[in-house]
């Protein structure tokens, strides 16, 4: 029964993919600025931005529901953008290095809450450094200044003094409140003055010449765990023992696979706006092509557990950790390549990815030197596949009758997932959870869009 539900959900998703392609939203991006791109993209980071130089963000802590791929729902707390609807996670706040950032937290929850910014420096409230809170007996009640329950507010300010990827999350009763969903991401864009000019569609992740990336291939992956017992207890105002925490769902950007690969803003995930499907073209040798530059993934682990994350297809290059570029005191590049990213609780990792058509398989000029598989002798699992029917990038071929294909234009798909494979599941059902796809389109011009 669960399997049937998931299949239905995947089918809805493939229709959405077709719609995306038909409207051509993925094409023609390179000439746009990062923010303009963010406004239209169906995959990749969706930025929430504010006024140039001094952005103000109004975040409203409120409750709502999310849906899970097996048909369950979960009661959540998270941050809405101003008076907007509930969403999980909170908005991705994109600011620029040097900005004076103001974040106003309005609390509609029935208990005090706050926002902590663990890797940011010099956060102030009312002109003085944000402070741990104590009650009259001297007991710690919150890691930082709170918005009091049922209508209180608090205003945090900071100077975004360095580029990088940061987390914002509850600083009050975190074991409960962060697990309930009070988390989000902040991306600080570098001041690139003095750095070499880049082709259109290419930007810098850090204030470093070696941090260039393809702006249309920028992604965010916020990893978290979900124990439905906690969410039910909070909804029913019952006690919950955090030492008994037992996750049953594992998420990226507040969604579990296969929802992770649905578009940003997919209609059937109205409170879970952010997808995590990674899409790119193969490495292009031309310096003026955005695909000459790698894609960038901002990983943020807001969970309480470590998550060993394994992108198939290629190594990634780790260029930043916890809002700091990986550089020596002498500013030498200390980046390194990995096929397994072990995301520690609370860490952020910036990792670039590229897929290169090294072998250049081609049916005419370089055929794959083994017998092309006889598909009637092989299995397409559960009768559905992302495979094109052809091993060659950009080609499609027949699939057995009755097999449903999600492949559009001969593109490749790679799976990216937690290698604690019990987390690549929705409760007791595999092929879910902390799991997403990378889509590699054939080089332009192609028939993909």
């Amino acid at each position: 029964m669960r399997l049937a539900q998931i299949k239905t959900r995947i089918r809805g998703l493939s229709l959405a993919l077709v719609a995306l392609v038909m409207t051509g939203l993925v094409a023609g991006l390179p000439s746009q600025s990062q923010e303009a791109f963010a406004a239209v993209n169906k995959t990749g980071v969706v930025c929430t931005t504010g006024a140039a130089g001094s952005p103000t963000f109004n975040l409203t802590a409120k409750s709502g529901y999310i849906s899970l791929p097996d048909g369950n729902t979960a009661f959540m707390w998270s941050y809405a953008n101003g008076s907007g609807t509930f969403q999980l996670p909170g908005p991705v706040l994109c600011v620029n290095e040097g900005d004076n950032v103001t974040i106003v937290l309005n609390n509609t929850l029935g208990e005090d809450t706050s926002i902590a910014f663990p890797a940011l420096e010099n956060v102030t409230v009312n002109g003085v450094p944000a402070q741990p809170q104590f009650d009259s007996g001297g007991n710690l009640t919150s890691l930082t200044n709170v918005a009091t329950k049922s209508g209180g507010s608090v205003t945090y300010k900071f100077l975004a003094n360095q580029p990088g990827t940061f987390v914002y999350q509850s600083g009050t009763d975190q074991g409960k409140q962060i697990n309930m969903g009070l988390f989000g991401a902040i991306i600080v864009r570098p001041n690139v003055t003095g750095l070499p000019a880049l082709p259109s569609g290419v930007g810098y992740a850090y204030k470093r010449a070696d941090s260039a990336f393809n702006l249309s291939n920028e992604y965010i992956m916020i990893t978290s765990e979900l124990d439905p017992d906690l969410h039910q207890a909070v909804e029913r105002n019952q006690a919950y023992d955090i030492t008994k925490q037992h996750p049953r769902y594992w998420q990226i950007n507040g969604r579990s696979f296969p929802d992770t690969i649905a578009d940003n803003g997919a209609a059937w995930l109205s409170t879970q706006p952010y997808g995590s499907m990674v899409r790119m073209q193969p490495y292009n040798t031309s310096l003026t092509s955005p695909s000459h530059y790698p894609g960038l993934v901002h990983y943020i682990n807001v969970g309480m557990l470590n998550h060993p994350f394994h992108p198939h297809g290629n190594h990634g290059r780790v260029i930043g950790r916890d809002g700091r570029a990986l550089a020596s005191p002498g500013n030498e590049d200390l980046s390194y390549e990995k096929y397994l990213i072990l995301l520690g609780a609370g860490q952020t990792w910036d990792v670039t990815y590229q897929w290169t058509d090294v072998s250049q398989w081609n049916p005419a000029t370089k055929p794959i030197p083994v017998t092309v598989p006889q598909q009637q002798n092989l299995t397409f699992k559960d009768g559905v596949t992302w495979y094109s029917g052809s091993p060659y990038l950009g080609l499609k071929d027949d699939l057995p009758t009755g097999t449903t294909s999600y492949n559009q234009c001969g593109e490749y798909y790679q799976v990216w997932h937690s290698h604690a494979l019990n987390e690549a599941a929705n409760y007791d059902l595999g092929f879910g959870g902390m799991f997403t796809l990378q889509r590699i389109d054939p080089p332009s011009p192609n028939t993909c869009s």
Partner: protein
């Protein structure tokens, strides 16, 4: 859907491949004695004799089987005994062996029908070895499950960490294909990047990986066959002189006496996996597991628990001196002479993190995830010393240590001619076997011999994990 497929014998293509190996045997090639044949494939293996020099063929079959674990396990909350499994094999006196049910791989010997290995999977999977620049084919046959004729799962091979993979050969069933029972498929690779990788089935991955369809594959560097411009010689693995190192972990480019050299005299693959006994029991007893309840009871090193990790390696095709370990053929016993360089390729395909530690010996981390530890800017080594390697699920770390000075005590600290050090999981709960008292799990010994030890007592190594 595979349940509609008729049973089928081995394909003509596979038959020819197997026949080719048999002919090579008949032609009088050197056969390695059974006591040294390991459960692995490497380019010099007789089973690849007759192939062009830069190609390599590996024949694997996927099936189920039983493995032995020491220790014991308390009944679960409902009083059920899931270890040892009452369906498991019994000894000659009809006593139930301490076995758990597994899924796994086997390498198919020349002339053997891969389907005939049904029910004889090994743990961990055959150690696969290849060389940078070689053309590698892996033929996978699905032999079906002896204990579960009702379960018609397909299988795949996923080469974990292979760069720029294409979906057809990446082994994820939803992204390309999977191999149903009685059928076979050929995977093809051109490995370009030396280092330590792993491979596993990706079909129903949470189940098949945990059930034991997991092993190590590594790519030896070109420097083995060429030496380097700093004077490092051709390695013994590639026919170098007896005085040359056995191999290099990476194309390090430095002289042998450079502290950053990745030359080694001996090497071991240390493969870490876990057994949640209930899930294995459930698979044998036609039950399903709720994987969100996952927790391990046994922690394995190369498919065995300490002290079995110390037993010699064997050939799964031959009943060994210790028959209970026939299908756990890979030894973890590390032996070296004072001053020798030892490479450990530490790999995890469990679902939890491990902290592998060696008290008393510094480990130099020279590679992670098949990447040589070096600066992107100027190629200088960024290797570092530690005595504990923290390793995630799906991660690999290469460390080299120099065998410490022999104590000089008569008979060594052990009284048996060597000094004893330990390699174990610093998470001590993983150094036990189930709920039994005493040591078990992910632990082995490092035995250090005097520099002048004879070749009779400790021969030069010619294959890993020996």
């Amino acid at each position: 859907m595979n349940e509609n497929l008729p049973p089928r014998k081995v394909s003509r293509r596979r038959f020819l491949a197997v026949g080719g190996g048999a002919m090579a045997l008949a032609a009088g090639m050197t056969i390695i004695g059974p006591e040294t044949i390991l459960a692995y494939s490497n380019p010099s293996d007789v089973r690849n004799a007759g192939l062009p020099p830069n190609t390599q063929t590996i024949n694997l079959t996927a099936t189920d089987g039983w493995i032995y674990l020491p220790g014991s396990l308390a009944p679960d909350a409902s009083g059920r005994i899931v270890f040892p499994d009452p369906l498991g094999p019994k000894d000659a006196n009809n006593n139930l062996l301490q076995n758990v049910y597994i899924f796994g791989f086997r390498e198919v010997p020349a002339g053997v029908d891969p389907l005939s290995l049904k029910g004889q999977a090994q743990a961990s999977a055959p150690l696969l070895i290849t060389d940078e620049g070689r053309s590698v084919t892996i033929n996978l046959t699905n032999a079906g499950l002896q204990v579960r004729p009702d379960l018609v799962d397909s299988h795949t091979v996923h080469w974990h960490g292979f760069r720029n993979a294409i979906p057809l050969f990446d082994g994820v069933p939803e992204m390309s294909i999977a191999v149903p029972i009685g059928r076979d498929f050929t995977y093809y690779y051109e490995p370009q990047d030396p280092g330590t990788y792993m491979y596993h089935c990706h079909f129903e991955d949470v189940e098949h990986v945990h059930m034991g369809m997991t092993g190590v594959i590594f790519v030896r560097p070109k420097q083995n066959t060429t030496g380097n411009s700093s004077g490092a010689p051709i390695a013994r693995y590639a026919g170098g002189a007896a005085s040359a190192p056995l191999g290099y972990a990476y194309n390090d480019g430095v002289a042998l006496n450079n502290p950053l050299s990745t030359a080694y005299d001996r090497e071991w693959s240390i493969f870490l996996s876990e057994v949640w006994a209930k899930a294995h029991y459930d698979d044998a007893h036609i039950q399903v597991s709720d994987w969100s309840d996952f927790h391990s009871d046994f922690w394995l090193m190369n498919g065995r628990c300490y002290p079995d990790t110390l037993e010699v390696g064997s050939d799964p095709n031959v009943t060994p001196a210790n028959p209970k370990l026939q299908y756990q053929p890979i030894s973890s016993l590390i032996k070296a002479k004072e001053g020798e360089k030892v490479l450990l390729r530490i790999v995890s395909l469990g679902y939890t993190q491990s902290a592998m530690t060696v008290p008393g010996i510094d480990l130099r981390v020279v590679g992670k995830d098949a990447v040589y530890m070096k600066s992107k800017v100027d190629n200088t080594s960024t290797s570092y010393l530690t005595n504990t390697v923290y390793i995630g699920a799906g991660e690999a770390t290469d460390v080299i240590f120099t065998a410490p000075a022999f104590s000089g005590i008569s008979g060594g600290t052990s009284g048996n001619g060597y000094d004893t050090y330990l390699l174990y999981n610093r998470d001590y709960s993983n150094s036990t076997s189930g709920s039994a008292a005493g040591y078990g799990g992910q632990m082995t010994e490092i035995r250090i011999y005097p520099a002048n030890t004879s070749a009779t007592i400790l021969p030069a190594q010619s294959q890993p994990n020996t």
